[in-house]
Symmetry: C2
Subunit: 279 residues, 2 copies
């Protein structure tokens, strides 16, 4: 799930047929799976990773059994989504990596060619999916009778890094630890453990569960393209190229010396490294 | 309006009294004033600039007439909000700049001191105000019976730089003109003439009314802290310090050579320079 990259192609197999082709729209994000959220337009696995996929308006209806002779030799040796011996689906494979040759066999059977899809640009980014998740969490907060109305209001504002949460984060760490920017109006109050993943109101409003970050730092941290060790060292994801980081003024840019994270933030950073950061 | 800066203090005068003290929360943004949007928490002027102000929970009730002897000498010579000769309000002054001494006289009469407010941190940024405006525009789009449901859906997605708008912007200019970043998943599809300020559906979905920008470039462009000349040169606002720009890797960072803006984008860039950019 976490190794999928934007632009990758996905085949959907159900009821004995490869029925749809999809385009990975963005890097995976982690979030507890809300029961209200169907699987429409997204892949979920048990670890709670959501992979934004844009399904294309092409119906394939290709039976692996019908093309098994050509399919079997190109299927992966382990974790194959389809059994090479009989063409049946492998129940234990949820999202499996396959070779481009598998696509070629399936698409040719449907009268299509992979090159038609290779240069396609997804129309959505993970923000659109994250927003839907956040909306669902917000609905639940709105319906929670146990919450004081002032707290409810602050939870809604915290979703967007505003209000009490912003004030508290600013009190804990007012300077962007990635860029050194200290001008408050260039900084966003970002959650370390994402707002949607927090279990309680106090986690959502905890100033120690936040960082003041410049807009690009917030973007990268939120999507797991950068992270932080407890000693303050910056972690760069393999999905963020050295060149792109440089173009953002990072790595070789002006950056403050690593400052250990606040002791009370340790648990939140641990969550981020385990469940948000993409190694 | 446009010269106010975050952290500035504001006094509110109505019905013969200075009643409230407020904190400028962020730089002004421009937008046509929707009639549904009251003046709560914001100053509007006729040119359509909104200045986000956070009113503090302090009631002053100071009559300028009662402190006129000490107030008159410190009032501005022209564009004074209160007439030095009689202490009456000046109807033609909507938002006027006054000296710190004016605050001192007013606050002292209320038993307060300016230093109590000087280090206050606003809890909201202009994003919170912009979101409320966008919500109002979205409601109107939602109620517009003349719109096809597919167009309506695309207009909603365009608000967040998603969907058809993103695809079209990408077709016109796929690389961030401020940072040179070309990786689509690091880029946001930003409106040149803001979504909320567009007059028609076609303006909101026009690929020539957009730029693919890195997250910090999007933030600065959206808030008028950077702009572009038609010949492609970058304009930096006086509100963005050289040091902060450098910390974002701009000015001295890796930047592509100026590329003239697309001819069909000219009108949108003109709007941005006149109504979004803060000189």
């Amino acid at each position: 799930m976490r190794s999928a990259s934007p632009g990758d192609l996905v085949l959907s197999y159900a009821n004995g047929k490869v029925g749809r082709i999809g385009l990975v729209a963005d890097f995976a994000i982690s979030a507890p799976k809300p029961t209200e959220f169907g699987t429409t337009g997204a892949y979920w696995n048990d670890a709670g990773w959501l992979l934004p996929v844009e399904w294309l308006g092409v119906a394939l209806a290709v039976s692996p059994q019908a093309v098994l002779e050509r399919l079997a030799p190109v299927l992966p040796k382990s974790h194959s989504p389809v059994r090479a011996e009989n063409g049946y689906g492998n129940q234990s494979a949820y999202l499996a990596e396959v070779d481009a040759a598998v696509f070629d066999v399936v698409l040719e059977a449907a009268g299509l060619h992979r090159s038609e899809f290779d240069a396609m640009m997804p129309s959505a980014t993970v923000s659109a999916f994250a927003q839907r998740l956040d909306d669902l969490v917000e609905e639940r907060i709105d319906q929670d009778q146990g919450l004081d109305s002032t707290v409810r209001e602050q939870l809604m504002r915290a979703r967007r890094g505003q209000g009490l949460f912003r004030k508290r984060v600013f009190d804990v760490e007012p300077v962007c630890r990635l860029t050194g920017i200290a001008q408050p109006n260039l900084l966003l109050a970002s959650h370390i453990k994402p707002w949607r993943a927090c279990g309680t109101a106090s986690e959502r409003l905890d100033g120690h569960n936040g960082l003041m970050l410049a807009p690009h730092a917030d973007f990268l941290f939120d999507r797991g393209l950068v992270g932080f060790e407890d000693d303050g060292r910056t972690l760069f994801s393999s999905k963020l190229s050295e060149g792109d980081a440089q173009k953002m003024g990072l790595r070789h840019g002006v950056r403050p010396p690593a400052k250990p994270v606040h002791a009370k933030s340790g648990g939140y950073f641990q969550y981020h490294r385990q469940s948000v950061f993409i190694p």
